[in-house]
Amino acid sequence: MGSTFFSNIIKLISRYGHVFLLEGVVYTLLLSLIAVAGGSVLGSLFALAKRSKFIPLRAVVSAIVEIVRGTPMLLQLYAGVFIFPQIVPALKELPDIVSVIIVLIINSGAYVSEVIRSGIQAVDIGQTEAARSLGLSARTTMMSVVLPQAVKNILPALGNEFITVIKETSLASTFYVGELMTSYLKVKGNTFLTLETLTIVGVLYFVLTFTLSKLLQAAERKMKHA
């Protein structure tokens, strides 16, 4: 099989390279970026809400975060694409890709809110007390003392979240949204070369995540010295 396997791979790359790279990789990166960027905004809001004095808000947000963290991503995608539109008919108008993006953002937001929470918690409470003892408000203390230090804990974890999301977006192929795993489905459907197609896709995922995690490590080293 050896020689046909490799020649098949070369054939696939020359014929379907644009599907893998221009559609698959680009969509995967785009989806992940949107998910993590949206998730960071949402996660910050979640984290703020969890520190709120208004108990019902805290309870609702905690419940959302726990449910998202406690259920599989695929199930959440099903819920977003199939189940919620049954309950709220207006959602039926949304294209699948939009539903998928919303689910990805909420999912990422839940994880990011935990990242932010633990990043803040890791900043020693003594510094907060010192700032408050000087008469600074809780808000100024957070902005000037706690957050600048928490960010150093949060950014690396956000990078890891990005890498996780890259892998998780593969689940969105269930809805044929065009990312890397969808390009596997397409090419395999046309050529019936399962093993070869899967190998190409696997290598691409690995290259993506491996490069990113190396970049992340370098950035982390740099930040430690700053």
Binding site: E129, A130, A131, G135, L136, Q149
Partner: protein, 318 residues
């Protein structure tokens, strides 16, 4: 300067302070001594509201820092209709107040009287209450673990609060339509000038641009002290300022605190350094089992202790 009235502090079921009252005069230096876990830090932290007392009041120069409680203000009680009714029924002033307190008869839900109560509470609040953030600007605190801001240089540590609070004050004055000559830049420059003077005073002006991680414990603690001084506090609270230091650095920190004491600063110091307490204190308080068990001049406390626990404590630490 500071009036501590009947402070109770519980952490869950743990009763740490069980009714502590004391008064800190201007210029006075007070030491808090006692065994580990007796509540010295808790008492000190109640003074600047880092811990909110479960019950009791903290007053600073005639202003109440702890939450306002209607039952602590007889004027409010006397203004209520319940009081009028009870006294009309023949109760004396004292009996009426007692009965109202016991049965929680002052409450918002009591119709017209409730409204009167809310109005009086607001008035009392406006006249007597001082926001804890404002109060803390005038109360410096120094911690056992230094607690310098790791993300700021030495200069940044010292100037953060004066600059942020100075700017907030300037903006408030502007909003109130008062003439303002300061700018953000002038506030920053003034804070830096003062910080450099303070650094010079402790001989560390060459450390202005360094980060805390590059300093020795003794240097960190002396900088923490001048960081508090940069706010021009009326009173300084110290919580075991030398306990986390290597022995060879204790001296430099104690010298700075002694110098402060001599300059007339009002201070409350939690300490295990009995020699220091004896030398600088005007008054020593022995905290034990949630109470101030004994208090007096260093002379009285160290030479002639009366309380059995204090005798025991001193025999172990001296």
């Amino acid at each position: 300067m500071l009036d501590i009235k009947n402070i109770y502090k519980n952490f869950g079921d743990l009763k740490v302070l069980k009714g502590v009252s004391t008064h800190v005069e201007k210029g006075e230096v007070i030491s808090l001594i006692g065994v580990s876990g007796s509540g010295k830090s808790t008492l000190l932290r109640c003074m600047n509201l880092l811990e909110t007392p479960t019950f009791g009041e903290v007053w600073m120069e005639g202003k109440l820092l702890t939450p306002v409680d209607p039952y602590l203000h007889f004027d409010v009680i006397r203004a209520s209709k319940t009081y009028a009714r009870l006294t009309a029924e023949g109760l004396t002033d004292e009996e009426a107040i007692e009965k109202i307190k016991k049965n929680d008869l002052l409450h918002e839900k009591h119709g017209a009287e409730g409204k009167e109560y809310v109005r009086l509470m607001k008035q009392i609040y406006a006249e007597n209450h001082l926001d804890a953030n404002l109060a803390r600007q005038k109360m410096g605190m120094v911690f056992q673990q230094f607690n310098l801001f790791n993300n700021k240089t030495v200069l940044g540590n010292i100037t953060l609060a004066p600059v942020k609070i100075g700017i907030a004050r300037m903006k408030a004055a502007k909003r109130a339509g008062k003439p303002v000559t300061e700018t953000k830049e002038s506030i920053q420059a003034a804070a830096e000038k003062k910080a450099m003077e303070l650094l010079k005073r402790i001989g560390l002006e060459d450390k202005a641009g360094s980060y805390p991680s590059s300093l020795s414990g003794g240097q960190k603690q002396r900088i923490a002290i001048i960081r508090a001084l940069a706010m021009d506090p009326d009173v300084m609270l110290f919580d075991e300022p030398t306990s986390a230091l290597d022995p060879e650095m204790v001296g430099e920190v104690l010298d700075l605190i002694k110098e402060l004491a001599k300059s007339g600063m009002t201070m409350v110091v939690v300490t295990h350094e009995m020699g220091f307490a004896r030398e600088v204190s005007d008054r020593v308080l022995f905290v034990d089992e949630g109470y101030i068990k004994e208090e007096g001049s260093p002379e009285e406390i160290f030479k002639n202790p009366k309380d059995a626990h204090l005798k025991d404590f001193l025999s172990k630490v001296l």
